[in-house]
């Protein structure tokens, strides 16, 4: 399964000529690069023209000490067989970023709706941000790092006096 990484190197050279940034080749078929949030739409437009037409997922992770959310856009190209990962960071207290619906249509709309529900990110340009999985959930966005599920469940649903449930209070 040895490959010579030719196509990955061609893409990185084109990016260096056009945008002036260095990316990394993690292994065959994987290219990672990180950008600022203002350049997102320019990069996305150029990548879509280069053949990265399939949006796999939009994945968000929460970093408490840096006070930032890190968003990763996972794009796949059918003709070159390369997965391109575009990462960017936004502020955790006021999370706003542009939406990529003009390029990837309703597929992007569904992924952005899911991330709005779980992390509270506001995608500018997405007019249809309504809850997808939960119904009448009144608390904080559930996937943030400061919302500890085990404590929440122990306080609200279980009781230490019940013999069957005592095991859930030991770690």
């Amino acid at each position: 399964m040895k490959s010579d990484l030719k196509k990955e190197k061609i893409i990185l050279e084109k990016i260096k000529r056009k945008f002036g940034r260095e990316g990394t080749i993690q292994r065959a078929h994987r290219v990672w690069i990180s950008i600022d949030k203002e350049e997102l739409l320019d990069w996305a437009k150029w990548l879509k023209q280069e053949g990265f037409i399939h949006l796999s997922a939009i994945s968000v992770s929460d970093w408490l000490e840096e006070k930032k959310y890190k968003i990763a856009y996972l794009l796949w190209s059918f003709k070159d067989n390369i997965l391109f990962v575009l990462t960017t960071k936004i502020d955790r207290e006021n999370p706003i970023i542009d939406s990529i619906i003009p390029l990837w249509g309703n597929n992007a709309q569904a992924h952005e709706r899911e991330n709005w529900e779980f992390f509270g990110i506001d995608f500018k340009g997405n007019a249809n941000l309504i809850p997808l999985f939960t119904e009448n959930w009144q608390g904080v966005p559930p996937f943030r790092k400061d919302f500890n599920w085990q404590e929440y469940v122990r306080d609200n649903y279980y009781s230490k006096e019940n013999k069957r449930e005592r095991g859930y209070y030991e770690d």
């Binding site: 599920w149 929440y152 649903y157 859930y168």
Partner: protein, 141 residues
């Protein structure tokens, strides 16, 4: 014999189930309808509407969204009716005990007749549970 026992012995000769196979139980209840673990030889069939059904199978974990629909279905069934709870998640929360969205004790929401343990229980266990319902009705005074 009491009035209730007479009624139950006449009515519970064959159990009709409402077709709401949800969550993990889908994968073990659908083969029950099929040809290997044929449940029609015991008189059980699957109906499409709760108004014809005797038994509601809660086949696994429930979330807040789906327990509301289960309560509405239970209210539409006619007496006498029973609820059978499948799996470990209905007893204490099971493997998803620390999830914010699942129901921990099904007993707080619906009156349950029989619990069947397992993750997921084998089809033979479901038949034994139905057999116990028949035996319990047969011994009623």
């Amino acid at each position: 014999m009491s009035v209730k026992a007479k009624k139950m012995k006449k009515l519970i000769k064959a159990i009709w189930i409402f077709n709401w196979f949800n969550s993990c139980g889908f994968c073990e209840l659908v083969p029950l309808v099929g040809s290997r673990w044929d449940m029609e030889r015991f008189g059980m069939i699957v109906t499409g509407t709760p108004r014809h059904a005797d038994v509601l199978f809660i086949a696994g974990y429930q979330t807040f969204k789906s327990i509301k629909r289960a309560q509405l279905i239970y209210a539409q069934m006619a007496e006498p009716k029973a609820v059978i709870a499948l799996g470990a998640c209905t007893m204490t929360g099971g493997i998803y005990w620390d999830s914010y969205n699942t129901i921990k004790r099904l007993d707080d929401y619906l009156p349950i007749t029989i619990y069947i343990p397992g993750c997921p229980p084998r089809p033979e266990a479901v038949f034994e549970a139905c057999g116990k319902i028949f035996k319990h009705v047969g011994e009623m005074k």
